[in-house]
Symmetry: C2
Subunit: 239 residues, 2 copies
């Protein structure tokens, strides 16, 4: 039998394969708090419980796994997030009552202002602060709480090595706002001068020429350069 003949008689449904979903942890900074986007499940299983934005790959529409993640996020928020990255994959026989199941998880950042209108329209989608998620005993669908925990760990790592946190802010932001966002995510205060030195060295922010208008002295407004996503502060051995 050659490959062509093999492919003609190949029937995927005859093999017992795991279910596969794509789930995204969309995070933002809102009212000086880190928040995650949760959706109330409209279908079984875990109907009526809160869970991550996600679902099955549509083999007709999706051209990649990331496409699927984006499609699901657009359904919930109306927009493609400014930052989206692979987070993890987890799978076992018990995480889904329907059987052996795999979740490919992404984590994403966005300015909450970018999707405020859409989220207010849709009653079953909400920003939930991580503080309240940790303190209340809100039961999430599947192992979505585990996935959120992994996203928080990854976000902390990224916040201390890169400037991607900027994606959780509006397009124009001050260095003070960016520093505050890092402090919220890392859970500790950062020395102002050190922070600004790092930003200057990274050279991934662009001065918009505009100024903020808040209490105190106006601050320069910056926006991210496209190089930002690829930038990482020097770590480990010098190469």
């Amino acid at each position: 039998m050659n490959e062509k003949e093999y492919l003609e008689i190949y029937d995927a449904t005859q093999f017992d394969s795991p279910l596969m979903t794509v789930d995204s942890v969309l995070l933002t900074i809102k009212d000086n708090q880190l928040c995650v986007l949760l959706a109330k499940r409209a279908n079984h299983p875990f109907i009526g419980q809160w869970g991550l934005a996600g679902g099955f790959i549509d083999t007709a529409k999706d051209k990649s796994i990331e496409d699927c993640a984006k499609r699901k996020l657009v359904e919930k928020t109306g927009v493609v997030p400014s930052y989206l990255n692979k987070l993890t994959v987890q799978g076992d026989p018990d995480r889904d009552p329907r059987g052996w199941s795999v979740s490919v998880a992404y984590y994403a950042l966005i300015a909450h202002q970018a999707c405020e209108a859409h989220i207010e329209d849709v009653s079953e989608v909400e920003w939930v602060t991580l503080e309240s998620l940790a303190s209340t005993s809100l039961e999430l669908a599947f192992d979505h709480l585990t996935i959120i925990d992994k996203a928080l760990v990854q976000l902390k790592v990224d916040a201390s090595r890169t400037l991607i946190v900027a994606h959780a802010l509006p397009t124009h932001f001050t260095l003070g706002e960016l520093q505050k966002a890092h402090e919220i995510i890392l859970g500790c205060s950062i020395e102002k001068k050190s922070f600004r030195r790092r930003i200057e060295k990274a050279d991934v922010l662009e001065d918009t020429g505009e100024m903020s208008k808040a209490a105190g002295r106006p601050a320069k407004l910056f926006k991210v350069k496209s190089e930002l996503d690829a930038y990482s502060f020097r770590c480990g051995l010098d190469l």
Copy 2:
């Protein structure tokens, strides 16, 4: 309809879901060269071509995705690798001629001595140097070459921030051997004193009390402590 009723009538086969495979990039240092384990495919598609160790999840045997990766590696090498970690997931409609397919990829390290006997027994499994893989136009099955490239990038990152490279060496090794392994992987020479300072600070190696017997002054033989896998050199902001 309640959840129980839903689950009773649920039939996964009625939905069009992607194929899913688990593939591992097993790396080692052999004869001062970085090598990857390749297997000659015994089945369609890409029959007779070389590819990564991998295959489908067995929903009856595997209790996790990592279990599946280990099972496939044990088939090829006879042993569970000393280091195994998630690498990436990639999926699209075209990477497999059978249809929309997802590969969950792991990367793994082992001392080649640990599986030498088994590999010599099995004719269709071989260590291939990355040098020869890059220079010859050996066509690998699926997008396995892309996955190997990602593993190499990840390995370089890890080699410069952690000491997991020790897992690619025999259980007992000298600091000189470990440094040489890092130099091979990173493709540059490392300053001896800096390297040793880092190792001392990390405190993840244990002096075995034994000494090496090679040319020149004998060197202390070390082995990894269990803390090694979790250790990372300080990077980014101090927390």
